[in-house]
């Protein structure tokens, strides 16, 4: 507890220090992927749209930042941030220990919950729905469910987007038991699910939701337990350079403000049809 207080005091100190110039406008560039709807996508004219973008704009308004959104391929997004091509990442990126070794994160602005989706034609033995597995809690119930999931998916072809927690999960828990196909974009994974090249896919619920709502989405269904915790991390945060503490503080303050006044919840309902913000 005492450490917490010290940490809070320490984090307040710089904010007090630049209180005087807090009103100063700063121009920043925020990177997004543009191919991960409804988090982020590009509209017909190539402009980025989505939950990330709307939250970003709301935050920038609060934090008196003038923000430009740029699109950047997912698998190079972290190195590009560290070398200074842009100042922040808002691309539905979950906060993980591995990423924290390289970049800093704001506090989470949304929660994550990963699900498998299987093609209806794939004949995978059914598994009870409405179950949950928290990977950070090592209970017997959890490991039994995971074991069952592993047995049912044995030998199947599973698609994941590269460099995501979903890929890390499949590699770690299923390993050689399944044929893992790594896609550069979620859109391409969806196409192959419909085409029948792969039997199942693993991704965040929000991603599946927008796909299940389309006509093609009728060919697939959600499968198995909700996966969270552990290597999936505490939620979705804004990626920042470790040296840019000023920006982190500004974003955290602004996040608190838009979460308290209900803006964040409103945007979540608008883009996901459900509240992904509340605990």
């Amino acid at each position: 507890m005492r450490i917490h207080i010290i940490v809070i005091l320490l984090s307040l100190m710089p904010s007090v220090a630049w209180q005087a110039n807090a009103q100063q406008e700063r121009h920043i560039r925020i990177a997004t992927e543009g191919a991960f709807p409804p988090w982020n996508a590009v509209d017909k004219s190539g402009e980025p749209i989505g939950f990330d973008i709307d939250v970003g704009r709301a935050l920038c308004e609060r934090a008196r930042l003038s923000c430009d959104f740029v699109t950047q391929a997912w698998d190079g997004i972290i190195p590009a941030l560290t070398v200074g091509k842009f100042d922040a990442i808002m691309a539905g990126m979950s906060i993980t220990e591995k990423r924290r070794q390289v970049i800093a994160f704001s506090r989470p602005y949304a929660l994550t919950s990963n699900y498998f989706v299987v093609a209806r034609s794939s004949n995978i033995a059914s598994l009870g729905s409405d179950t949950k597995v928290d990977l950070s809690a090592k209970t017997e119930e959890n490991s039994a469910l995971l074991q069952k999931l592993k047995t049912n998916l044995q030998g199947k072809v599973i698609g994941v987007q590269g460099s995501t927690n979903a890929e890390a999960f499949v590699q770690k828990y299923f390993g050689d038991g399944v044929d893992i196909r790594v896609y550069d974009k979620q859109d391409n994974l969806n196409l192959d699910l419909v085409a029948g090249r792969i039997d199942a896919g693993l991704a965040d619920f929000s991603v599946w939701k927008s796909f299940l709502d389309t006509a093609d989405g009728a060919a697939v269904e959600l499968y198995g337990p909700r996966l969270s915790g552990g290597l999936f991390g505490p939620g979705i945060g804004i990626g920042l350079r470790k040296t840019d503490e000023e920006l982190a503080a500004r974003f955290n303050d602004a996040l608190e403000a838009i979460s308290l006044d209900g803006t964040l919840k409103k945007l979540s309902v608008q883009w996901f049809g459900t509240d992904l913000v509340a605990e």
Binding site: I78, V102, G162, R181, V182, G196
Partner: protein, 254 residues
Amino acid sequence: MNLSLILDVLPLLADGMILTAKLTTVSIILGAFIALPLSLMRTSSTVFLFVPVLVYTFVFRGTPLLVQLFLVYYGAGQIDWIRSSAAWVILREPFWCALIAFSLNHAAYTTEILRGGIRAVPFGDVEAAKALGMSYALRTRRVVLPAAIRLALPAYANEVVLMLKASSLASTITLMELTGSARKIVAQTFSPYEVFISAALIYLGITLVISHVFAKFERHLAKHQQRNSQTGNSRLAEMTATIRRPRLPGSVSR
């Protein structure tokens, strides 16, 4: 920059390297089998033979390989009657889709390279073969193709190296070849410099092997010329002399 990481990553890229080598080798072999008859059709004077080949090479050389790859992989997967046909057994697999796109693309370039070689065969050689009563097939086999292949070899070696590098596009359709594996490791280590330098070193190594093999092959095919050059009557010198001769009278400096 971390030098030891460059070395540490090399063995992790072995699987990717094998897939890259496999894709390149099979595409080149398939491409050669397609290109050989097509280049003969392309040099034919019959419209029905050369126009279809012209259209084929125009389409495949005029569009990016990535687009062709996507059309074969994602395009075919979109069409219902292809998915229910027997061809789906092959088109379902990313490896085969990559091979189809790569070998068709490679064959289009090779056809044009070989056409250039065939066109460059000295007309006198062909005339002489005709005068000896050789049939088209015999003439092509004994006179035209050996000379054409020798002439086209340097350009073809270049095209093979280009194919090796183009195979990196396979990672966009879930095949984890060398570049794909490197990108995956970058995502895990967040050290793009070291990992991509490792991948580049492997590509350089393979390219070195390819150019060495072709250089040897070129020397092997040119053996008869070396023998001639000892007598001071190189055929190459003779050829260049023939080319130069008509220009001499009009030359101001002479």
